[in-house]
Structure formats: C-alpha cells, structure tokens
C-alpha cells in the first residue's frame, strides 16, 4: 500500500508538470493550429528564470511568514517574464509566417527549439544545476502510507492555475475572443477582434503556465539542466494529443494520466526506464490512429 501511494503521488506530481506544459501546446494549437515545438524549451527557460529570481533575492533564507507572499510573487513575476518571452518568440518566429504553408512555421518551431536549447547551453553550461525547494518539505502520514507535503502543494498550485485558466477562457471578454478566434479566425476579425493581440495573449498564457511548470519541476526534483525541455516537451505534447489537442480540460487530464502511466510502468515492472517512453509514444500513435481527436476531442467545429 505504501508503495502504491508513493507511486501514485509521484505520478500525479510529475503529471502536474506535464499538464502545465501540455496546456501551452493545446492553447496555441487551438488558436493557430501550430505545434509549437519550442514550448518544451520555453518551459526550461521558465525554470531557469525562477532559479535566477530565487538566487537574486536570496529566497532560500526567507522566513516562512514572508515566504508565502514571496512564492506567490515569484510565480507571478516568473510567469510574466516567461509569458513575454513566449510573445516575443511568436512575434519574431511565427507571425511573419502566419500565412505561409503550414510546414514552414512547424520547421521554424523546431529551429526555435534548437536555438533556445543552444542559448541555455551557452549561458548555463551542460551540468545539472541544483534547485532549492521552497515548498514545505516533510510528509503527512495517512497511517498506511505517507504523502510528501511538496507533492500536495504542487497539486494544489496546479489545480488553482488550471481552474483559473478555465475561468479566464470561459468568463472573460478576452477568453471569449480567444474561443471565437479558435473557431473562425476570419469571422472573429470581422467582429472586430484584434487577432494579433489574441494570438499574442495565447502565447503569453501558454508560456506563463510553462514557467509555473518549470518552477514546480525545479522544486520537486531540486535539479535542472539545459536539455530538460526536450523530453518533457515531447511527453507533454503527447499528453495534449491524448487529451485532445486544442482542448484545455483534455490537456490537463492527459498530463496527469501520462504522468501516472510513466510512474506505474516504471515502478511496477522490471523493464528498463526507456520502456516508459515506448509506452508513452505508443499511446501517441494509437490515439492518432484510432481516436485522432483524443480523449475529450476538440471542441471546435470542422473547418
């Protein structure tokens, strides 16, 4: 039982990170049907921005009373900065190709991914870099098992962000404009929606969520490296496809499910670790073959 709970909490916690990245893929795809392969590296950069801010303000030594507002501020500032980065990437690399054949922005996205990874390598080097965990450590005993406090806080933060995103998309004017743009870009433009602004906002939100995922990854694993985003990005992309790319709830669900699949297939079998990847990407292929719209499907009409 203890083993089961350990595996469950590991799966949900890493699933939370995958879900936060997957949201960025799914939001961007929903609006402009671009698979933003640079998103995994945007996630890594978010983790590094968070690390730099923590070091800059010496947050490891802050008292617990100060730490709670400090952490909220840390997340807010990191997410804002990373959001701006996402907007800049869209402006520089994708907007000029908006009306080009679909393959062109896709290749630009792959190129942007290599570019970002290369810059991270040059700036931070190839080594593993230690990350402090500012979330409460220790664990809650359930009698038959125990759950890490860090895991609980991570899940809580993730759920808050997801609910916030959902409310934003469903309740606000900008959210409505995003949905309208996703449904029919031309009609939305005719209705007076500034398409460029909406797309930029979408990149901002996606990159901001990835930054939250990056900090959470750092807190949980206490170690990051420049090439972190490559595999995490691909897995999160699988999660987005699994949940139904373009579907926000689907991406969240997909992230958690993929996280659990990886944790259980790793812990409960004697297979080597790379079998987890085989399973994950087999799921990607099976979903694409048998249910291209994913678990929940995309809630936009045929074009």
């Amino acid at each position: 039982m203890r083993f089961f709970v350990d595996t469950l909490s590991l799966g949900i916690t890493q699933g939370a990170v995958f879900a936060l990245i997957a949201l960025g893929y799914t939001l961007v795809y929903g609006i402009i049907e671009l698979i933003n392969f640079a998103h995994g590296d945007v996630f890594t950069i978010g983790a590094f921005i968070g690390l730099n801010l923590i070091a800059l303000f010496g947050m490891q030594t802050w008292s617990p009373a100060l730490l709670v507002p400090g952490l909220i501020l840390l997340f807010a500032v990191t997410m804002a900065l990373n959001g701006l980065l996402g907007m800049a990437i869209e402006r520089v690399a994708y907007r000029p190709l908006r009306n080009a054949p679909r393959l062109a922005p896709l290749i630009t996205a792959v190129g942007m991914s290599f570019f970002l990874e290369g810059v991270l390598y040059l700036v931070r080097g190839p080594n593993q870099i230690a990350y402090p965990n500012l979330f409460p450590s220790g664990s809650v005993s359930l009698g038959f098992a125990s759950v890490g406090l860090t895991n609980l806080v991570i899940v809580a933060v993730t759920v808050v962000l997801m609910v916030g995103l959902h409310q934003f998309i469903q309740r606000t004017r900008v959210g409505r404009a995003m949905r309208a743009t996703a449904q029919d870009r031309d009609a939305a433009r005719l209705m007076g929606i500034n398409i460029n602004r909406i797309i930029a906002i979408t990149f901002f939100i996606g990159s901001a969520l990835a930054a939250a995922g990056g900090i959470i990854y750092g807190f949980y694993n206490e170690s990051i490296s420049f090439d972190l985003g490559f595999r995490s990005g691909l897995i999160a992309f699988t999660a987005a496809v699994f949940g139904g790319i373009g579907n926000v709830v689907g991406a969240s669900l997909g992230g958690f499910i993929i996280g659990l699949i990886i944790a259980f297939s790793t812990s409960y079998t004697s297979w080597g670790l790379q079998w987890a990847d085989v399973i994950v990407f087999s799921i990607l292929i099976l979903v694409l073959v048998f249910r291209p719209t994913g678990l929940l499907g995309m809630r936009v009409p045929e074009k």
Partner: protein
Amino acid sequence: MERPKVLAAIGVAGMVLAACGGGPQGGSQTIKGTIKIGVDMPTSGSDASDGLPTSKGAQLAVTKAGKVCGASSHTDACFTLQAMPLDDAVNGVHDPAQGAKNVQQFVSDSTVLGMVGPFNSSVARAEMPIGNSANLAMISPANTNECLTQEPSDGHCAGQAAKLRPTGKNNYFRVCTTDLIQGPAAADFASKKLSKTKVYVMNDQQTYGLGIAQNFAKQFTSDGGTVLDSNLGGFDPGSATISDFKAKMNQAKSQGADVVFFGGTTATKGGLLRKAMQGILDVPYVAGDGISGDQFLKDAAPNAANSYFTVAGPYPQKLSTAATFLTDYKAKYGEDAGAYSAQAYDAGAIIIAAISRAIDDAGGNMPTRDQVTAEVAKTKNYKGVIGTTSFDSNGDTSLKIITVYKWNPDTSKSDFADQVTVS
C-alpha cells in the same frame, strides 16, 4: 637492459629543462624535429571533473620530459615533445563520434606517434578501429571494459576485441585493469565490507556501464547476495529524468534493497540517481570509477554522503613512487591530482619510453608508428608512478589493483576506503 638508460635519459632531459628553463640542449644532442602525443579525454561539461585531471596527468608526463632521445644507440638524436590535447565531449557528455573525429585528427598528423586515451569505454570502441588502421599506439589510463581487449571463455564479449582491430594487429593498451576485476571487487566490498545482501542495480546501457553492472551482479550473487532487478535497471542517460529515478527507487524500496549499485558515469546521471534516492531509499550507493570526478558531489548534493566508488588502480597517496608526481601535479595545476591522473601520467611516460627505443630502431631518425607501437607492446616491468607495468599480448596490464573510495561531502574529497590486489 635498456630501461635504466631510458629513465636516465628522461631524467637528464627533465633536469636540463629544469635547470635551463626549457633552454637549449647540452652536449652533442641535436633536435631533429617534433613528436606529438595525442591526448583524448572528455574535458568539458559533466565529464570534465573526471576527464580534465586525467588529461592533465598525461600532459604533465609530456611537459616534464620536454624532449625524447634515442634510448641507447642514438642518445644524440632527440625530438621535442609536444602534447596535443583534444576534448571528446559534446554538450558536456563524452561522445564516441567526437572521439572518432579526434583520433582521425591524430592519425592525419604524421608527427603524432602515440596517444593517451580515451577515458570512456564507449568512446574507445569508436576510436580503436581508426587508430588500428593507422597502427597508432593508444594507451588508455581509464578504459575498464574487458571486451575491448579480451575474449573471456563464457563468450559474453562476442568477439568485440577482434572486430575493433580490423588489421589483426594490436595497437591498444591500457594501464588500468578491467571490469572483470573492478566489478567483482565492488561486489565483494558491498557484500563483505558493507554486509549488504539485496542490491538494486541501475546502468546506463553503455559499453562500460552495462559491462561493470553485469560483472558486479555476477559476483554479488556468488557472494550469496540477491540482485533484485535481473534486468540491471537499464536506462537511456539522454532522456532519463530524476522523476524516473525516483520511480525506480520507490520500486527498490518496496523490494527491500539495502544497497544500490550504479554502472555508469557522472555524465550519464550517476549523481542524479544518488540525489533521487533522497527521502526514498537511505542506503549506501556503490559505483565504479565513472563517478570519481567531483561533479558527482555537485549533482548528488545534498545526498552525496555514504557513496562509494572503485578505481582501477592504486591509491597514489599511499605509494612512495607517487610522491614526486603528486607534488609536481599540484605545483603545476594548483589542485590535487584526480583518480586517474597518475595512470594517465604513466601512460604518457610509457609512450615516451617506447618512442625513445623506437628512435634507436629507426637509426636515430623519426620513428614510424609501427616502430612505436611495437615498442609499446614490448613494455615489461616499467616502474612508474602507479607501480610496475607490463603489457600482455592483449594489451592489458599486469597491475591488477582496485581501490575503493568513499565520497566525503564535508571536505569535497574522496577518502580511501579499501584496496584489493589480484595477483
């Protein structure tokens, strides 16, 4: 009978250089040209803390000698020695393809008559056929995978050693012993000295990592212990994350592991695995020489304590023959020698001694690579820093010593834990 003269020649050269600050040669010696010795190690990124001190050890042997003259019949024919150090790490991790390119670079430079390296067995596999085609003498200070040189009777090497030598002649030697000794030594240490009975093994599936894990598991079983995961926990070091390791450590804990063995290097995430054990599995961690560089401490912090590793060689600080070397190294580089610096120094010195004899073979002229390789193969009872080295017909050393170290995070150094000598 040639040996003392060679040493004397090198010693005299060293003294002359020391006295004149590298100035002109004395007596009737003439400098006839330059001979280069290639040094190939991973010297950047996560591998640098292993590879750089090793590369420096080899370079020290070259700069200390300064020049090489004929051993006995042509002591007046001398050549200036120069080290040519290259880095085989790409993105901070040793890369077989880069190693192959580096050896090609050595081969294409006709003044390179030998090389020290590589550090990693997987890199050696890529480099050996290239070096072999040019019959370039290669002496590795740190490759421990047995299949590079041998064909053990159980056939687990599947004829690799022969495939790595397309010309059929041997050009590859090593001054460290193999994982046939190192893996079992680590297993004996875990089961007898640490009194552990249930091991959970992880390996990076590379030439060295998988090989040492297999040799470890075999001996640990025959010592009466249990290997919990018969697949030896293979993973892809390029993509495995700390979360994946945590999942495997959860499994290890549920199966009651009381020690973890890692086959691999720091660059293939050995330190990260140690870190992943924090809060999950509080048991000793044992690995081979792949984690001997201090990057391991940084990657594993704050969970680096209680970690052991073996090194295929003696503990230099305990050897009287190594005292001068250790002082010289510290004086030149301002830091203590690494776990394989002394081996690299001896590897370089053995090549220089062989070149010296080859100059005689060439009648006082620039020797060919064939002559140098033939002389390296003849190395018998070479008294170096790490002890007395002779090469057998496979190119393996007669010096079969394993040292066990324990990482000490408080001093950021590794302490002596145990030593095993196999006769």
